[in-house]
Symmetry: C2
Subunit: 509 residues, 2 copies
């Protein structure tokens, strides 16, 4: 699989298909033949392209080039003065795409606001695209003859990326993750449009001359009777999972040359062939509000929710803990004077607590500690899934933290065709800046309150809703802080929100 990883990365890294710089790895010839050279945006692509992150039309395909200076999503169409306003921690002006410009695809609403000073720039990034996927070409470079009625595929794409320890990873991910997804879907263009079960096997290398048989002819006739059924949905899920992994690998490769700063949570929605695929790696959140009902579309990955996974890894690979950490959890730090006493603990197998005799090793710092927003892995990071963080190390130590982080999202599938959606049914995506101070029920109440004041066909209603959600989480400046109407503190974090109407692409625009 490494060759597939490397090859796709090599492809995406190179602008226009040129091989990446640096020494060739032994498997590069095969890799190159695996993924033939196609420009990052294939000709004849986006039929309905609109908003894009940080200027994707002319976006440099090299991840490292995204390191440039501070930027906001290009769909905000910010002037230099607007960019300065968006970057102002004192005013915290809410940003949305201009009313006058081209709207976001699918009548999507979007709003964001910078943090109250916790980092120099807004480390959230966003992307909203319509992406065209052409099937794989044959070795000659000419497009393969499509089957009857079979064409390329379009998917709608939304991504929220919440950066930490620098804005680089979020920016790179907002520019490139959807291209990795497109790349992964290329093999599936014909398969997904064919109602018969997916083929178990494909010809060896899609770019090799002689492999031009339609891929779905290879599988079925070599099947055993006891083969497992694989659904079309699960292929899309697998494509998204693989894309996340490749994006993360790309960041790992490039960090040696041009530093990709920090890491980011990624919450991504792919709409393809009637279904929404909601993929989450981190602590952002997606909910559907449908006829007032709340349907959770993601869960958060934190040191608390992933405690047992982290502890298991520390237990099986103790070298990852050095001599500084213990995989056991205690309700608080154990003190030397407690040696020999019995203290509450839990290990990778337990959800309850029991007493154990305190030994010398238990005085080490726990791998997982703290509660709620203060929970940390190795006393360092409060989120356990996402992209990047390849350079992250324990403070004043050389221990890498990355082995404990997972780049894999959990993907949930929502079938849009199973329900007749009304214009007030929406999918809300928000970074933790929103959800730290907004419950699902409060968000649903805002959905109801705001949308009921707009005509169902008013295209600005979803932007107004996104703004209301952001404002409701930010609050207003009062008593030396940003405060909510109930006088509690508003979120001092970056806040970004997408509102996606579920009525279908363009139905209400």
């Amino acid at each position: 699989m490494l060759s597939r990883v490397r090859s796709a990365v090599a492809h995406l890294v190179s602008s226009g298909g040129a091989p990446p710089p640096g020494p060739k790895s032994p498997d590069q010839p095969e890799a190159t033949s695996l993924l033939p050279a196609v420009p990052p945006e294939a000709p004849g692509s986006p039929p309905a392209k609109a908003g894009s992150a940080s200027g994707s039309a002319a976006a440099p395909a090299k991840a490292a080039e995204a390191r440039a200076s501070f930027s906001r999503p290009t769909f905000l169409q910010l002037s230099p003065a607007g960019l300065r306003r968006a970057d102002d921690h004192a005013g915290r002006a809410v940003q949305s795409p201009p009313d006058t410009g081209r709207r976001l695809p699918w009548s999507t609403g979007y709003a964001e606001v910078i943090n109250a000073g916790k980092s120099r720039h807004n480390e959230d990034q966003a992307c909203c695209e319509v992406v065209y996927v052409e099937g794989r070409r044959s070795g000659s470079g000419a497009p393969r003859e499509p089957g009857p009625g079979q064409q390329g595929l379009c998917f709608y794409y939304w991504g929220l990326f919440d950066g930490h320890a620098g804005g680089g990873a979020a920016e790179v991910a907002s520019r490139l993750l959807h291209r990795h997804i497109r790349e992964q879907l290329k093999d599936l263009v014909e398969i997904l449009q064919d109602p018969s079960p997916p083929p178990l096997c494909l010809p060896s290398t899609p770019g090799t001359p002689g492999s031009s048989d339609p891929p779905h002819l290879v599988g079925p006739h070599s099947c055993w009777p006891s083969q497992k059924e694989v659904t079309h949905d699960s292929l899309v899920v697998g494509a998204i999972e693989s894309a996340f992994q490749l994006m993360d690998e790309q960041m790992a490769q490039e960090r040696h040359g041009h530093q990709v700063e920090g890491g980011c949570c990624a919450l991504v929605v792919v709409y393809l062939l009637g279904k929404m695929y909601v993929a989450n790696a981190g602590d952002s959140r997606a909910i559907i509000v449908r006829n007032g009902e709340i349907i959770p579309m993601s869960r958060e990955f934190t040191p608390e929710t992933e405690r047992q996974r982290l502890q298991l890894l520390g237990f099986l690979k103790p070298e990852l803990l050095g001599s500084e950490f213990t995989h056991l959890e205690f309700p608080r730090r154990v003190q030397p004077k407690e040696l020999g006493q019995r203290m509450l603990y839990r290990d990778q197998n337990m959800t309850g607590w029991a007493y154990k005799h305190i030994e010398l090793e238990d005085l080490r710092f726990p791998l997982v500690c703290g509660e709620g927003k203060k929970a940390r892995v190795m006393a360092t990071i409060g989120v356990t899934r996402g992209l990047g963080d390849h350079n992250l190390r324990v403070c004043s130590s050389s221990l890498p933290i990355k082995p404990f982080l997972s780049c894999f999202p959990e993907v949930r599938v929502y079938d849009l065709t199973q329900y007749e959606h009304c214009p007030d049914d929406v999918l809300v995506l928000g970074t933790d800046g929103l959800w730290d101070v907004t419950s699902d029920a409060e968000a649903a109440a805002t959905v109801d309150r705001v949308l009921s004041t707009y005509e169902p066909n008013d295209p600005s209603r979803y932007t107004a809703l996104a703004q209301a959600l952001v404002l409701g989480a930010r609050g207003t400046p009062r008593d030396r802080g940003w405060r909510l109407p109930n006088n509690k503190l508003g979120s001092g974090d970056d806040i970004s929100v997408f509102v996606i109407p579920l009525g279908g692409p363009g139905s209400y625009s």
Copy 2:
């Protein structure tokens, strides 16, 4: 923790508190002082003891002695002729405690039937007990002065054990697991009856002179402000988890001397201080039927539901796979002629499927394969949690399977005080023999149908319900097989069912 494990095992293994035979391990002196010698059934215990598994009153405390000949739960009070009838695969007579004898605690209903010939004996076992837990004694052997209003604790206990590869493990577990739970709860007798938060620390060794301070005085005043809150419930959960682990360790230790045959799934319910703790390790199932509504109280642990855990372990510890297995999953066995092609696969991180190039290693047998009841770990075992199986190896290989199996249950807590239960609200426990052919909804319909034909205060109604559930899953002999009314095949497996009325202990007896 090992010393705690060994000590408790040593204690439980020895009848009457004598040290276990065999060479002393280095930590045994400490272990002995940790757990002072108390007889298996402490004086002044069971106030309301009734049915027990395999004669617990005079039960040998040594696990290995349970290896004896074929036996059924003593609460069935089977005569030699009755035992032969219960062991008859042709008649498959349903067994329940006799109407004339002492009833099971809590008006519990029970029924069982032997398999249709898949194994020589019924490899299910059951236990239903009222267990008294005395607090730890001080080193002098005299009971510690109880705090005001504090006494020992009673818990009600139900256990279903579904054996495989022999009946030994199920029989041992049915005799001893509740004693391990009692042992774990001894530290908690005072803590659970004290409404203040549990102490983080206890004195070093409960049996040591000088440690007679009430344990809850040790914790709080040495607390840090940022300590994690630990609930009383989670201590009971931890005690049950530890007890499962100790039971499994005991089986591991004894197998070298006297063979404990096979392994078993364990589904256990502990009622303590108003709450039901339902602990499941394996593929048995518990549901509550309350006012017609179904509340799942367990989930099954199988190669399919635990695929990612198993694959992760194989990935991190490839030596466990030998050169025979691959941690990757394919929809079917890969064939040598497919080398170089791309086939669908998924790894420990994926829920979806993607294509990968087939390499030589992929021709190995997959760690997890098959679907539904045919799913297997290492082509051998269809259940991934339980007790025992320490000798289980891959057929015609020396690879041990135990490292992939977990002895830890998932514990769910149901608060009986949060709802006013009526006599028709029940907790149903069944081995997979029941659930293979009975949906939750069908079971709920049987609950309604049977209980509505009995007076609410008729003590035989829950036994009648258990019998109806067993009969409904077994079917009747017809067309050379056991068939259900819809002519589908009934379950040919051992079937065991407990029905626990939720109205409270003895309310309806």
